[in-house]
């Protein structure tokens, strides 16, 4: 399945845009998504951390993605 992903901060710079599309197996886990991202964008491996948010919530690596969610890359935050 093709999913659209939101990218913020340094991940937006790495992927070259605020959204991008990626092909995932059906019910791929968040962990599998991160592996794919690291393959496609090796610079993401150098980040201090990379969290995934699904529908505006931080999620665990084991969560299975259905393809209808709002998925976002959350590099280390630095507000305040």
């Amino acid at each position: 399945m093709e999913v659209e992903i939101l990218a913020f901060g340094i991940t937006r710079d790495i992927v070259g845009g605020s959204t991008f599309k990626i092909f995932l197996e059906r019910e791929a886990t968040v962990s599998a998504l991160k592996e794919l991202l690291y393959q496609k964008y090796p610079k993401m491996k150098q980040l201090r951390s990379l969290m995934i948010a699904v529908d505006n919530e931080y999620v665990d690596e084991g969560l299975e993605l259905k393809g209808q969610e709002e998925i976002a890359l959350i590099p280390p935050v630095s507000g305040g």
Partner: protein, 136 residues
């Protein structure tokens, strides 16, 4: 209670909102743009946010603070967009019956905001730029 805006923040507006006749203590934290970082001169900061999620995460901070301490009110305003040196990035105001809780809740709020709320800042120097905290 929560505002994320591209417009300048006004600490007085935030503070005046938390006063209450049942509160004896108000603590306010104001984060401003420092002119230097790691001995490099900062030209400006660019803040961006994942707005809906940021609002949700700030709601969680206020909710958690209410459970931890008997506070009266907590208001959090954060600015995004381009900020120059000296400008205000965040204002957090807390009121409570006694001072200990106001200090503790305010410090908890800014510490947690910096860990969980999806807001990012890029420091722009005279000779380059850098996303803060992105790399180890």
């Amino acid at each position: 209670m929560i505002k994320i805006t591209e417009h300048p923040l006004n600490p007085e507006d935030v503070t005046s909102t938390v006063f209450s006749n049942e509160a004896g203590a108000v603590n306010v934290f104001i984060g401003t743009v420092r002119g230097t970082t790691k001995n490099k001169k900062v030209v400006k900061l660019e803040f961006e946010t994942y707005l809906n999620m940021a609002i949700k995460e700030i709601e969680k901070i206020i909710e958690a603070a209410r459970h931890k301490w008997p506070i009266q009110h907590m208001i959090i305003h954060h600015r995004v967009g381009t900020l120059t040196v000296g400008e205000i990035a965040v204002v957090i105001a807390v009121s409570s019956g006694h001072r200990k809780e106001a200090f503790a809740a305010c410090q908890y709020a800014i510490d947690t905001l910096k860990e969980t709320v999806p807001i990012w800042k890029k420091e722009v120097f005279e000779d380059g730029e850098e996303w803060v905290s992105a790399h180890p």
